[in-house]
Symmetry: C2
Subunit: 161 residues, 2 copies
């Protein structure tokens, strides 16, 4: 379990996808300009996300990415594990017999903690974020119609229907 900016990029991008899940695919260039991440880097991250089945690519004009599963089935842990290749758990890498046949003590303790963290982040899914009342407030315009929410800025000039 590792957590870096790379993981954060992936999580926030997935939040973005989840928010627009019912409005057709989201393009990476949108996310790129909204979040200030290079397009090509995003493509690399989404390649990993796609390989893990977390997103589906839709090619051609009007294409983009959409979630690969219902948002309730995509946890923060899933996303982080997909892009941040897991940190090997101690220095006693392959051979877990660092302690004369048994696993060493802090190795054991750290694994406990790591597992607790994983369980915690596995319980938080994307649907939690969509249900956020703050989000609902922003996602509904004053006239009552839904509009496309950008990640960094509300793209008021660029919503559909």
């Amino acid at each position: 379990m590792k957590l870096s900016t790379k993981g954060r990029y992936a999580v926030t991008a997935m939040m973005d996808l989840a928010l627009h899940d019912n409005e057709g695919p989201v393009t990476l260039s949108d996310i790129s300009s909204c979040q200030g991440i290079s397009l090509s880097y995003l493509e690399q991250l989404f390649s990993l996300l796609r390989q893990s089945g977390l997103v589906q690519g839709v090619r051609g004009p009007g294409g983009g990415y959409r979630l690969g599963k219902p948002p309730g089935q995509i946890s923060v842990a899933d996303i982080i594990l997909a892009v941040d290749e897991s940190l090997d758990s101690t220095n006693c890498k392959g051979h877990l017999d660092c302690n004369k046949g048994e696993r060493c003590l802090t190795h054991h303790l750290w694994n406990d903690l790591s597992e607790q963290l994983l369980t915690f982040l596995s319980a938080i899914t994307l649907s939690e974020f969509i249900k956020n009342p703050e989000v609902k407030k922003i996602s509904v315009r004053l006239d009552g119609t839904a509009h496309r929410i950008s990640t960094m800025f509300p793209v008021t000039e660029n919503y559909n229907s």
Copy 2:
């Protein structure tokens, strides 16, 4: 909130200190050889831990480091925050007005998550680890006397009293 090997090193080292808290200070060269981390790198990490009041250095022969507070008052979050300088929460760094005066949406969502994680790791203290039954089992020798537990290997030739 960031989580890397650096943070893991600090946490496992602190676990080591907590386990030997009542047996006098633990030297960094012990931890270095036990966990396979360079001595000087450990010194740098412990410099940060000391600045945060998490450890106390004891100089001179027989010296080393001991906990700066009771183990129940040192959380995993404290340790990680001390060594992994916190990851700025989004690309809208200093200016939190990325969304025309307000904070942007995923910025908000990510902060929520980050805070949840912090709360979670703040609830886990070093005393949790010491209470671990597995640890107790290893820390008591067959003859009933306590012995010094190494992190990576039981240093059977090197316990006191």
